[in-house]
Amino acid sequence: MNITLQVWKQEGPDRAGRFATYQVDDIEPEMSFLEMLDILNERLVSQGDDPISFDHDCREGICGTCGVMIDGQAHGPQLGTATCQLHMRKFRDGDTITVEPWRAAGFPIVRDLVVDRTSFDRIIEAGGYITVDTGAAPDANLIPVPKDVAETAFDAAACIGCGACVAACPNGAANLFTAAKINHLNLLPQGQAERWARTEAMVEVMEEYFGSCTNHGECEKACPKEISIDFIAWMNRDYVKAKVKNRRLMGQKA
């Protein structure tokens, strides 16, 4: 199949960008979207042209490194799918496809389609962990976890941190990412000790970089792991509780 690509080209963080148009002929429908970009890049390099920069790593939908806006949708038109798992058979011969990087103040553009997602690391650093004694591995099932809880926590833990939620959000908010990371731990017994400190800290670091949720629900539809916005409601609930509880705990200090 033959397609026309309109790709955002930008030489550096502070440079002005623009859409460049490429004609990509003889593409197989079985190719993934990223393979199609690989082929285009090989052709560009062999012609002595500048290849398109884009992020990728596992190419099996589990690392969260890939991710671009394809025809105005994060990760493209197929729901519940990361860019690396999207295939060219989703498009038609002769299509013009527009590819743009994530746009958010918290995700500055590095080059072309590559953005810097360090802000997500900042949110995780604020509380996306549990504190345990290291040493020999503990026995399995030492701490019983009800099955429903384990499954719901796992649904939240499916987040691969790709940033599609922020990219899709009309407000540039990172509530789905943060809610997934908070609830993954807040639901489990191992996460209880730091639950309230975690919730307050992660929400407030999130708000330093990103916008505020207005409950459009775009993030849920963009998420390659189909994480539910129910988690956002639970995060809001825990945040209000955390604000009260953390104050009380503060008062208990001598």
Partner: protein, 243 residues
């Protein structure tokens, strides 16, 4: 971008809470509930336009007088009415301030917009026009208060007279332009509530698999009932059923 250490700490609890965006959304939800409560009461009151006169006095006028002397003589006349009014004004101001502050925050969170058209999947017309429907409705309120509550010319009809609510209502909506503006404003309120009355559950963390589906239904019913209830009496005047 600021760092955590620059955040001023240990303000009084409500200030500290309101400083966060999640806190502001919670305040927007709670004030939204208050405003919806008022809107429903106001709408039910308006339906008294359809009730027959009592001893030659319109039921609407009796109702208005009863509002002014609510809980009197336990509290002096007008006191309860003013307490309710102050509560409502505070709720409105908080709702508008939080919306304004969050809008600024959201602009800052995406300084460069997408250069290619976006393809929205979940966002509705209502959710994407909240700021517009809210601001236009707020402007309508100023006119509405001048028209009926305060009787300020030229917003109010020439025959406006304090306490004669039924007559003012009829005179007010015998002006087609005013009725049209009113219908548009109430429809915008309905659109605003279609998203708002659902969204508030999420913002307050009221979420449970047992009733999650019912939240959308509840929001649709609330906005529908409010629109129909508010539009019916003015249209009855406009089409000559109420004189």
């Amino acid at each position: 971008m600021t760092t955590t250490s620059q955040r001023p700490k240990k303000a009084p609890f409500p200030v500290e809470f309101y400083r966060s965006a999640v806190g502001k959304k919670w305040v927007m939800a709670v004030t939204g509930v208050i405003i919806i409560g008022f809107a429903i009461a106001h709408m039910l009151g308006n339906l008294k336009m359809f009730l027959p006169d009592v001893n030659g006095i319109p039921d609407m006028d009796i109702y208005a007088e009863a509002l002014r002397s609510l809980f009197s003589p336990i509290v002096p006349e007008h006191v309860m009415l003013w307490l309710l009014r102050v509560g409502l004004i505070v709720a409105f101001l908080l709702h508008v301030h939080a919306a304004y502050a969050l809008t600024i925050m959201n602009r800052r969170a995406r300084q460069t917009d997408y250069q290619a058209p976006r393809n929205y999947v979940a966002a509705t017309y209502a959710s994407r026009t909240m700021r517009w429907s809210g601001v236009i409705f707020f402007a309508f309120l100023a006119f509405h208060l001048a028209d009926f509550t305060l009787g300020i010319q030229p917003a109010a009809p020439e025959t406006w007279e304090h306490g004669r609510v039924y007559a003012n209502f009829v005179a007010g909506f015998q002006r087609p332009l005013v009725t049209a503006f009113y219908v548009i404003a109430v429809s915008l309120l309905g659109i605003h509530l279609y998203h708002g009355a659902w969204s508030m559950f999420q913002s307050m963390g009221v979420n449970h698999p047992k009733f999650n589906a019912a939240r959308r239904v509840a929001a649709t019913i609330i906005s529908g009932v409010i629109v129909i209830g508010f539009i019916a009496p003015p249209l009855a005047v406009a089409f000559g059923y109420l004189k």
